[in-house]
Symmetry: D2
Subunit: 353 residues, 4 copies
């Protein structure tokens, strides 16, 4: 159920409708659009009695949303969501592509800084690095934990990069929320609904990766879990799905980018590193992802991939990432997008560190 | 790394080896077999210095385990694990098939009791019912929570059925561990490693369902997470995988049963309800699962499937479950298995409740 | 479009309706059932003008068939098709299971006879062997061609086995039709519509294998091609589909057996050899196939699998096939089926050869 | 086995080596490269006795090729194959992208001419149109046959477009070879080895589409069948594979483009029409295909898609194809490719038609 407000409805009118919805025992989600505000209603089992709402002042119409996803749908919010980061001009979903780069795992301060310096210089505005790693084997390197988060916080200060890192359970989510700028939910946890709900109660943007065999609807419904708890800052990420094909580790399904953009207002980016699992396929698929209309990229870069503690074979050398940025800058204008120039002088560098 | 003890090694010798392993900074897992005890070593990054262990009294040999799964492997424990339940003769992995039946969700005391009475009468020894439901939509029925667990505890008392129910996060795991007899980890959480580790610290058997696109190795590694924390009572469950085929909800991959049994000592059962998603396919696939060598079945039964709050279209009517039990009893002997007779008088009934 | 005749309609009435259909420019397919005859109409683009047909004597009703498959559908023929072989009591689709066994390829007279003797003795009534092999590589052994067919014709004479062998193009189809008793169309040719149509003009039963990624509907439509040309003697065969799973060569999708049996009157058998690609999985999956309700099996057997020119690793040793037949005989009665006893004295043996 | 000739080997030396190979009972394939000629040897079961060849004049070295594909491999021919068309400057595999466009089926002269005029004007150099359609249903429109081929021959004369059309069996292959410029082998026939071999004996270029569940190796081996018969003019085509994903008809696997280009010298193009099955996904995926490095595109265009007799929902309107060409021209330079300008005056137009 969706209450569409008139174009010139006042804030008080919106508030009054929200209060009425609450008094009926449901949950209101006021979603401001370019022209008008829409108020999604969740918590209802069946149809909400529309009568009392339709007659309130400022209300244009009440619409029944038939799709299983509501808050993520373009029915509720027609214009694109732009996920912004306070105090910066970095974003996902606007004209600028959001580029995230960094190593699979934070292995040490030296390793992380070496990569961060290079990706910042090449123009990435976001730094990725795993502190909590969901590994297939219990005996494999599981990440540095909070120590890794602290290294990334230093990287933010030093290079002006925004930090994106994965939370794998309630405990790590609290810490990631504390240290990072964006909370990543990994493919293996795309239907860990408990974790999704908790991420929905955080106030930092969430990067939600598609599960290995998730349909489009399941993917959008996973995002709906986050939004339904009140966090509307969600960026989706295609990272390859599992098929019979054996020439890549996963099959990057680029068609989901226009499919998501048709149904949902949320931004979607692509991960050609996990999507292929092979270094020599990352650059061509990164170009393709931008050409298909992706709102950004997330790419693994390591100064010494052969010694990486995880996923080395899919990590780019820093020089390859430079080349990727050059080509991405060339393709972006064709799809009416741009890539921000590298920062001349990172904030912290200015401070003389 | 694996320390194989001599056939007649004493308990003290085993304990001494375990202490030595701990003193080296690793974790010992003493796994008694039919003939001899093996001690798995985890916590080592590379090879353990074998010398000091090989010379200890009672040690026959020290073997390097090259497979990524260790404790779940037949290399470590040659004979089948039989998962038993204290105070009962129900089990998984022995000669008797373990049969779990019940509704998808616990909806009410009446609904649950009605099903429980019928499945107990038909010969099931385990009762399943969801109290915490991982639903694709945040707006769908999510289960009764602790109230559902309490209803199932009553069912155990009333009908003598052992309770199997799903935990979806740390909080529900504590409660499931308190009320139930067996902790189910669902397909969507097969790689929720945080949950697996916590389940490994519980002292109740774990039913681990295969993820929708999990390979055999990933499946065994997920079990390894549970065992590596010290809980060796794990039963695996094939519940269908995701393919292009659209005549069933999932494709039940029965070939994984002999594949698991070749590599691992753990029992494996099949779920023809989720595996097909269609009521009229459950009975034939249940027969096939027993014929392929499955150690048991988990089947959804509902007295009124058309009104079920979840998964009604794949739930059997109680009469159909009776028929299933008849056919399963006929096929079991061909594969040298048996199905326990229904209890004449459930424990609690005897007590005059 | 389907004309259902009255229960006691005479042959002349049926013939008259067929002639009327032909005179309208369509093609009639008279399909006798247990109780009544139905006449399928193909060759029409849209709806046929029913009026003239409905009023003819002996006609009960005219039904529009909405499913894309018509002649293979139970709408057209409610009772099971039993594919019989002249002069024998072997069949597919009746109470007896049809068991086909033999080597992947005919390599020599000696090799083929050695296998044939054993599988006949174990109770198989059909002998399989490839004379024309569709091989992934142009440089791999492609079969003995007509020489192989001649060897199989000798096997029929010597052991009384019916011959099933694959045709891969128009030329080989003519030869297979000449020498063999049943024409196999392989998985790679399931949508070679030109070959299907030609097989539909032959008067020998066709064994049609499911394509590696064929949906149920595509599978039935492929059979429809054969029937639409007038050959109604089609046996379907599930032989495994392609998925992400890597513990078997293909994933045997047993759920398609009841799915086909619900929609179609045609028999369906299973191929656990190609379905798993691994010798030690063939026996358990063969049991499962019978338990699920399969109308028969096709199994690869080789006296010396390790020296086989193709698919050796999935071929059973003759002793293993004996064991398979023992277990199949035990499971069959549970699903109200039987397996014929081995012939005491093959026809040709009687003749003193 | 591969004989690498010296850089300045004479034609006689090459011929002498070929004759020696033939005299040994094998088949030579002389493949001229930019710098030197290599001679592939097929028809050998095991290793060829290299001695006699290594000592011949002009021979630099004899190499054992261990991959299952030989003639398609970069081991045999390091530099890219450019497939050219006599009397034109159109090609696949060179700097210019090869763009094929046209309707799914030729339905009538008017329909075909209307599309041809528009795609020629937009800059396509190749016209596609089905005369023989492999349809899932025997009752669906199967194409105009030779009449369709004749219409396309007229289109070549009228608009100067090169004709690409599918052959589905031996009979249609002879006719396609007669009327068209390029022989298409469809996805369903990718492993119709009999058809591949016959296409290999034709002297027109072959467009080979990837099967719906073909691995990279199977795809290259299918091409190997064509080359092994002496036709080295093969262009590969990715057209989507079958997965669980249901938001598109198939999943376009763009990663196979760089994967093929690494292993093989053959050109590879992409089909975003079949690859997605949805009109609104064709343009973004066409951009992505060019960005990933594809050697060209094949796109369905129809002047009136809603009335198309086949695949209308994935056909572009001519205006959309214009837009596609504009965007493709913008992306091509980023990957060092170009798109030919539309012909000012088609050949036949010059002739005053």
């Amino acid at each position: 159920m969706l209450v569409v407000m008139k174009a010139h409805a006042t804030e008080e009118q919106v508030r009054a409708v929200c209060e009425r919805i609450e008094s009926l025992g449901y949950r209101p989600h006021a979603i401001p659009g370019a022209v008008r505000t829409a108020i999604g209603i969740t918590g209802n089992k069946g149809a909400v009695e529309a009568g009392t709402l339709e007659e309130m002042s400022g209300v244009q119409e009440v619409i029944v949303v038939s799709k299983p996803y509501k808050l993520v749908s373009r029915d509720v919010k027609e214009d694109d969501t732009v996920v912004r980061f306070r105090g910066t001009d970095a974003s996902f979903g606007g004209r600028d592509l959001g580029i995230i780069a960094g190593p699979c795992s934070i292995e040490s301060r030296e390793q992380a800084f070496a990569v961060a310096e290079r990706v910042a210089k090449a123009g990435a505005r976001f730094f990725r690095g795993g502190a909590y790693k969901p590994r297939t084997s219990p005996y494999a390197f599981q990440g540095l934990g909070e120590e890794g988060l602290k290294i990334m916080a230093e990287i933010r200060d030093r290079f002006g990069l925004l930090i994106v890192t994965e939370a794998i359970d309630n405990e790590s989510l609290d810490l990631v929320n504390h240290y990072a700028d964006m909370i990543q939910i990994g493919a293996r946890n795309m239907q860990n609904f408990s974790l999704l709900k908790k991420a929905g109660r955080m106030r930092k943007p969430v990067l939600l990766k598609r599960g290995m065999s998730a349909t489009l609807e399941e993917f959008l419904m996973a995002a709906e879990y986050v939004l339904s708890e009140g966090n509307y800052q969600v960026v989706l990420c295609e990272r390859g799905v599992r098929t019979f094909a054996d020439h890549t580790r996963n099959t990057l399904d680029l068609s989901i980018v226009p499919a998501v953009q048709k149904l949902s207002h949320l931004p979607i980016i692509c991960d050609p590193s996990h999507g292929t699992g092979k270094r020599d396929k990352v650059l061509p698929l990164a170009r393709a992802a931008v050409a298909v209309g992706s709102d950004g990229l997330i790419v693994e870069v390591h100064a010494n991939p052969d010694r990486a503690l995880s996923d080395g074979s899919q990590s780019l050398f820093p020089d390859q990432f430079d080349e990727l940025m050059v080509e991405v800058r060339q393709i972006a204008p064709v799809v009416h997008r741009s890539v921000q120039e590298p920062q001349k002088q990172p904030a912290a560098a200015k401070a003389g560190k």
